[in-house]
Symmetry: D2
Subunit: 384 residues, 4 copies
């Protein structure tokens, strides 16, 4: 059947895309008038998708100016957010305004490592120890082999975990300005082949789920993955009253009962209001891997009374972002990155710092709204 021929079309040109789109329309009966559009040559996306039939246009808003006082991001930024959730941009924008009026968000990156953890099958616990010893003794050779596959990746360390006949080796890399997951996979595969041959052990999977990619995991929360970023701000009491329509005390109690007690009672990884919202919209806008919002969501938000008024902080253990590779070169996404001067080399840490300040803005605004009893009202007015 001709439609099926179109479905099997493997080409990358605009004409190929059109053929496929028509075949899909024919097969499904759907009209893909908007989804079939693409403002750029589809060949540009050839490394980002297969079976391309068009694009999904996600509404793009922005927040800011958001004042950030990081080691890499220092200044006022307009931050792009792609979302379909009404009220999100408005709420985060309010938070950004408060942060800027308070002098900006302090942001620091305390760790930066991307990981991949293959799993091997050994003979047992003594054999696992033998392999770990081999790996430790031959680290430099392993490093050379792994780094031989990449221009930018640097192997920092290998950490071993063993249980029975399963041996996990968690490789940590500096991946430069790329998020770096694929780089790590390829480098680790090369290292695994060396280890298999030289240490005499069987690789079962290059990813043994101690990486831990796109799953919520205690290991990531504790050790971090990608960039571990901390941010905070001290908001004067009058700003809390005038702009957030609540009090420091009410914000602190909301954060305490909701994030801390509620998070502890539901056994959440992290304790925040809605960090995932900010990260998802930021990641979609800037060509990051949206599925890595999973790890990103494990944020810890605190809120305390301080001399000035209220102190608010976020700890983000897993900000996995890049300014090269992935979806960052796609036309819309690269433009969104450019809004923050975050496109290309030497920008990944800056992007991560802005992400943390962004999450801080969204957290404090929602905590304020909930402490003032305004959440449903906002959604009624702006969303729905």
């Amino acid at each position: 059947m001709s439609s099926n021929d179109g479905l099997r079309n493997k080409g990358k040109t605009r004409a190929d895309m059109e053929d496929r789109r028509k075949a899909v329309e024919s097969f499904t009966g759907a009209k893909l008038e908007h989804a079939g559009q693409c403002s750029f040559d589809p060949i540009v996306a050839e490394k980002n998708v297969e079976n391309m039939i068009g694009t999904i246009q996600v509404p793009l808003g922005f927040i800011g100016p958001l004042k950030v006082r990081g080691d890499h991001a220092d200044g006022e930024f307009l931050v792009p957010l792609a979302t379909t959730e009404g009220a999100l941009v408005a709420s985060v924008n309010r938070g950004a305004s408060v942060i800027s009026a308070s002098g900006g968000a302090e942001v620091i990156i305390i760790k930066d490592e991307m990981t991949r953890a293959p799993v091997f099958r050994t003979r047992g616990v003594r054999d696992s120890r033998r392999v770990v010893e081999w790996v430790n003794e031959n680290f430099e050779e392993i490093k050379a082999v792994a780094e031989g596959t990449t221009r930018h990746g640097k192997l920092i360390k290998v950490r071993a975990f063993a249980s029975g006949r399963s041996l996990f080796l968690r490789f940590s890399y500096d991946t430069g300005d790329a998020m770096g997951m694929n780089m790590c996979t390829i480098a680790t595969e090369a290292a695994c082949r060396l280890i298999e041959e030289r240490a005499g052990v069987k690789l079962i999977s290059v990813s043994g789920n101690m990486c831990v990619d796109k799953k919520p995991a205690a290991l990531n929360f504790i050790d971090g993955r990608g960039k571990t970023v901390l941010a905070d701000v001290r908001i004067p009491a009058d700003l809390v009253k005038d702009k957030l329509h609540t009090t420091p005390e009410a914000m602190v109690e909301t954060c305490y009962r909701k994030n801390l007690i509620g998070g502890s009672m539901s056994l959440s990884y992290g304790s925040n209001a809605h960090a995932a919202n900010m990260l998802a919209s930021f990641y979609i806008a800037t060509g990051q891997d949206a599925a890595q919002v999973v790890e990103g969501s494990m944020a810890s938000t605190t809120c305390e009374i301080c001399e000035e008024g209220v102190y608010v902080s976020v700890r983000l253990p897993c900000i996995e972002v890049g300014t090269v590779g992935g979806g960052t070169k796609l036309p819309c996404q690269s433009e969104a990155l450019s809004m923050m001067d975050c496109l290309g080399a030497k920008k990944a840490k800056k992007l991560a710092e802005i992400a943390a300040a962004l999450v801080l803005a969204g957290e404090l605004s929602t905590l304020a709204a909930q402490s003032a009893g305004e959440l449903g009202k906002a959604h009624k007015a702006l969303g729905r």
Copy 2:
């Protein structure tokens, strides 16, 4: 300054959007040529975003035909995926092909409840018990008040959790074909006002993080949120060999050491290969809330030897999707939903079942690839 005037522009027309976009370009120095585009009247997105300056075009591919044997989705589907991760569509497509050749994926929904859990401050543990008793005794009145705010939502139950002076009431709703988060928030706020007044207790926040929205939480994993969906397939051994280039035994060992042992060692919520990938790309394509991939990611994938060859299953405790509301009415997104005849009323369960079959396809393909040692190779060829 004129640029700042543009930034403060609150309008919703295309002209307003253009003004804002230009102001952003002026402020940041970035050119928003592609991101500034929008194939539809921006007024259409007025409930989905604020400060709109354009759209992000996310590359759209599809997989299928995918044969699904659900209670609501029964047939062969082309499934839209919006992603920037190369190799993802190709890999899932391979899995879909194997599922279809194996007779299709069995899918069932075993629970369907959306939740919102306010937190109250009581006098202490006895006072909390008093309030809980009041809630139980007056459930019908609470239900009437909550349901008075919505045409579609039905309050199913209220479950109480107490610790010290914090009392959490987890409201569970049937939200029809909407994902329903906002509906639940508004209904719960109304119920809270009744409870505050009649039971004499102080509401601290309409969301007390036992909901649990967009955070990875044990409570959601165990009790489910949105739709809890199970899917499985039995793949004949020859298909495993011919199409997946591995063996049932190798797939089973990969799943065992990676998902189960690895997931247990990293203390992951769920035990899967990359469920978040399929959900993120599916959610973006179909106008779902991308941040809810966080809960969705807590999938459990199993792989066992069976008479036919290999048995593969997924348990998805939190598929939070709708076919009305949210981003589902946006032009591209509604077209993507139409590809599966999943737009509008009476379609949400169907959509959830397709999502589960989709995750199953992606899981089995990646487990097969990893058991055959092909992961890095695929990413080298298709992604990067």
Copy 3:
């Protein structure tokens, strides 16, 4: 060899015990002068241990009078604690004194169910659903069969969890005044035989680790196991100063940074200072199963400023205790139970309430000590 003959001795009399003890001494070269002692006829312990060679004498102290205002325990109690950790009794005793001077601890039990969860192998997800439906439809028959094995146990409900071909049925029982684990196992095994035969499904294990016995598990933390008990007290500010040598503010900050932030950062189940200490020493003293301290340890302690001074609470989701069965009839243990008039029928709830007040006493004393910087000092003076 004669020593090995003695090791194989299966008898229960004092003479048998002596023979075994001598054989152990001969085999090991150790002298069991104290451990070989036993103030009672060993036949009394025949249901509690095999290969008996004597007893371990654990030092027994007490705390109190501890004023408890529970629904079942109402009055002042001396509470026995068997421990080898110096400073523990003294510290808890201080807490008890403060509680009593504050008018006593309020205690309530909000749930009381003991569980056992077998796991079955089904054909797949649809087959699992079929079995669950059969169980629901035939609940009364299952209940009759389960209860036919026990005089005291009552089957309350069966909750199903399914993933792939694994089907878990969590049976919840009222076990009267026994902790009831064995009662539940035997009753559930009978129910399983019925289900296997009538529903046509294969039992794999009568315990499928969703019970969850003696493992730290989110399921238990959230749903409770045994008795879920809440306790609290309001301590006047002058008592905090005079008896605890600290301030309400310091206690609250210690609880906040240690239990809540620290517990959240280490991903602990529960958020307490040392609940396990009180439970372990209480369980050993009263003939409970010491391994169930594992579940018991998942306590949540809160500390807040209140009008009177400081409010302290504990939530104990899994107090698994009995006043009949297990070790409760052993001579020392039954005497310890008698100290609180907690031996025999109709006393288990009372015992659980005293346990919660005891934990509260220990928690507040340690929080106070740590907030006053006294922990190491206490251990230096009283322990080691």
Copy 4:
């Protein structure tokens, strides 16, 4: 009142103990005939308990000979277990017999560090970083101060965790042959005073719950606390049949559905059958801190088909034991240690290895029993 006088008696002699016991009898009306006994001079226990009124005699059995092939424990051991749970000793003994007949359990210790983690209040995230940098730069001085408080403890490292204004410093020590908790507390307090003064930061609590003592915590599971011990054994198929009355296949399926799937579904820390049982009875017998069974319980047990028959392993991340200090010098407890030649210096690693082999014995026996459907039967025959 005279009874109250007795209650307040602070002495340590046998006469003081008698006075107190009589006062307790008088206050409570209980007779403490057995509990009042003590085969040794109470002064011996003066560092282990306060308000001593006697002892609790816990029935003592043993298992073995258990063949252990560790780096520190190498030979056949009779292992003392103090318990009130019928069938436990018999079941573990069966496992020990199978291990010994299989050539013994391989055991290795892969980490040995005791931890204490104070929490400080800083000005914010940049201030936390400043303090961490100070700590890193002055590690040698901190080490000297900490080690100045102890003869045996050696500070290995300090690991920092920060969130908002809370800074946690996790101190790791080599504590020689002591379990070492008190040693660590005292040394860490000294270090904290130095840090407070020199780095200008406020200590809130010497224990900030990232230690993590006696709470189930992901941090301990992943990083270990005390000794991390691995053990395994390969059991010939005929032994499985003859002694365990089941098959390798049935054991593997039980372990898979119960420990792995069940543990994953209940979100347990660890995946084992009943490790806490073995540790609790072993700890009580040998004078360990029974509350540390909490961390000990987080064992991971695996069971796989191997050439010989079945492979069984345990991973025990937190075996916190000592052969000096704590309750190890008490008469019965020191005798129990002597049974394994584990009393005093240079024996703690040996004791930990025996503990791991013991857990392995108990695990394989219970997995076998459950796979053969014998659990309830055993408890009916031997326990209640």
